[in-house]
């Protein structure tokens, strides 16, 4: 059986708080998750859901209260395994007294690359992330988006097998976002595994083979974006034009935009609705399936989580 690229078992992180650190807040609760080799995995969830906590645990920046994780079959405590991993921190910041080329060269030195190899890779990476003309400027003069690009370059500089990106699109303009999307797809084409966290669902829908949805420190579901959204009941949408007026209750129910009306009905009601609309003099323009989006699925989870948190708060009172 092939080894998963990333695997977590009951991964839990609690933070003590309060004056004597006697109280505990759970940031991540019993995470069991697998990212397969060669896939693009999106880790989605609202702010504070536990995405960055998970990634920091995987990178050994913080330590789990319980549970364990492995990357490429090796325990996360094995620092040598970092040779095969690339990591982009959330809102990355680098030594601002260095230029982009110097910072990349500095990081490349930890991968035992020769001077010539380092030079070649640094130039290639600067070009790849669109910083070839800014490579000799100190990072203190860089914008947030430019720092994000440097962060991405240092993450993929050494051709890692697994790339972990924490909010890679954050701080980027539309052009930058598009470029990052292209880089992720390029990594996938080259057989590299990519796990990235985001709260921008369209990015996840567009790029990911599978996504994991995390809310309130708990994993609420994993699967292909399409699979996840099928959990929601689907409906049908009828688009029509209506010259003049009508007393039909269906027309009253429809949403009007200019001359056009949009009506949502269930699959069972569809044919009866079309008949009624035609009888009322409507011209049917289009009939299409209403697919629940990942956003709706996501919002349902977030709202359920908030309702549960509120219920717990009331019962505690």
């Amino acid at each position: 059986m092939p080894v998963p690229a990333i695997e977590t078992e009951n991964l839990t992180k609690e933070y003590p708080f309060g004056f004597l650190h006697l109280k505990k807040r759970t940031s991540l609760e019993g995470l069991n998750m697998q990212v397969e080799m060669g896939e693009v995995f999106g880790f989605i969830g609202p702010n504070g859901a536990g995405k960055s906590t998970t990634i920091k645990l995987l990178m050994g920046l913080i330590f789990p209260t319980e549970g364990d994780a492995r990357i490429l079959g090796k325990p996360i405590s094995d620092v040598e395994m970092h040779r095969d991993i690339g990591y982009l921190p959330e809102q990355p910041y680098f030594y601002d007294y260095l230029t982009a080329a110097e910072v990349l060269d500095y990081f490349a030195r930890f991968h035992d690359l020769s001077a010539a190899d380092r030079k070649e890779r640094v130039q290639k990476m600067l070009k790849k992330v669109g910083l070839e003309t800014a490579g000799k400027i100190q990072l203190r003069k860089y914008s947030k988006g430019m720092l994000q690009r440097v962060g991405l370059a240092q993450a993929i500089l050494h051709d890692p097998k697994v790339v972990i990106l924490d909010e890679p699109m954050s701080g980027l303009d539309p052009v930058g976002r598009r470029e990052v999307r292209d880089i992720i797809l390029e990594l996938k084409r080259d057989g590299q595994t990519v796990m990235f966290s985001t709260h921008v669902l369209s990015d996840a829908e567009m790029l990911c083979d599978r996504v994991g949805v995390i809310v309130g420190g708990k994993l609420r579901g994993t699967g292909a974006p399409g699979q996840l959204v099928e959990m929601k009941t689907q409906g049908m949408e009828v688009l029509f034009e209506l010259p003049g007026t009508s007393n039909s209750p269906l027309v009253a129910k429809a949403t009007r935009t200019g001359e056009r009306y949009r009506l949502e009905v269930t699959e069972e009601e569809l044919y009866a609705a079309i008949d009624q609309l035609r009888a009322a003099g409507a011209r049917i323009l289009a009939v299409s399936q209403v697919k629940a989006t990942l956003e709706e699925f996501f919002m349902n989870l977030v709202e359920a989580d908030r309702a549960q948190a509120a219920a717990v708060e009331v019962s505690e009172k």
Binding site: V79, H82, Y95, L98
Partner: protein, 258 residues
């Protein structure tokens, strides 16, 4: 060890680019002014005045750099989160710590050596020649550098488990206490209970002894510094630094970064 060297060289580069070595300009101006003034107002004691002033300045400037930059070595990396990307490379936390320590000690070596050169030039200006006995000034500068290395190790330790402000206070406080270790050791037993006497003696061995590094009076008067003191101070610094750095590694290796 290669990774330690990479971090150390970058720490040195940071100090240079953040203009830490600009303090040398201040030192140079001080030495020029002192050399000119001393020649005019002191009769026969030019050597001791210029050496005392020079060594005090080297020590004070070095201490300021050691405490403030020593505390910031790790805390700034954690605060600005520059450490995140670095630790995602095949770098162990102890390699990072040793590299940071080595980088600042290297910076201090360059800084102290440059100031020593300035001091010798001032001495040459005042006395018009250098003698063999002036080598004790060089040894005094070496002792200052050893002392600074020890201060950096302490600053690094405190910065790993407390806030930068408290780390500065603890390091400075320990340095001041360390100047009076001999007095603590020599407290008259009759004024203390036996238990208290044992405690102060034990404490005096535990605390860093900075008093041994002060040979300013000997250097100012051109007296020879015994070879055994050079050896003792060198070994003491190496062993004490090793213990403090080991404690730092133990603390930092378990620390959750924010």
């Amino acid at each position: 060890m290669k990774r330690v060297g990479v971090v150390a060289l970058n720490t040195f580069r940071e100090a240079v680019r953040d203009r830490v070595l600009y303090n040398l300009v201040f030192f140079a101006l001080l030495m020029i002014a002192a050399a000119i003034l001393v020649g005019q107002i002191s009769i026969g004691i030019e050597q001791s005045v210029i050496v005392s002033l020079g060594l005090s300045a080297i020590s004070l400037i070095g201490l300021l750099i050691s405490v403030f930059i020593g505390v910031a070595l790790v805390s700034k990396e954690m605060d600005k989160r520059t450490l995140y990307a670095l630790l995602s490379k095949p770098v162990r936390r102890w390699e990072f710590l040793l590299g940071k320590f080595g980088g600042l000690v290297l910076t201090l070596a360059v800084n102290t050596a440059a100031m020593a050169l300035g001091l010798f030039l001032a001495m040459l200006y005042v006395k018009h020649s250098l003698e063999r006995s002036d080598s004790s000034v060089l040894i005094a500068v070496y002792f200052i550098w050893l002392k600074l290395a020890l201060v950096v190790a302490l600053a690094l330790l405190f910065s790993c488990f407390t806030t930068p402000l408290l780390a500065i206070l603890f390091t400075t406080g320990l340095y001041i206490v360390g100047l009076y270790v001999q007095e603590l050791r020599d407290l008259p037993v009759e004024v203390l209970s036996p238990a208290m006497a044992a405690f102060t003696k034990w404490l005096s061995f535990l605390l860093p002894n900075f008093e041994n590094f002060n040979v300013m009076a000997m250097a100012a008067h051109g007296r020879a510094i015994p070879g055994s003191l050079i050896l003792n101070n060198t070994l003491y610094t190496m062993i004490y630094c090793a213990i403090v750095l080991t404690a730092t590694v133990v603390v930092f290796s378990r620390r959750n970064l924010k």
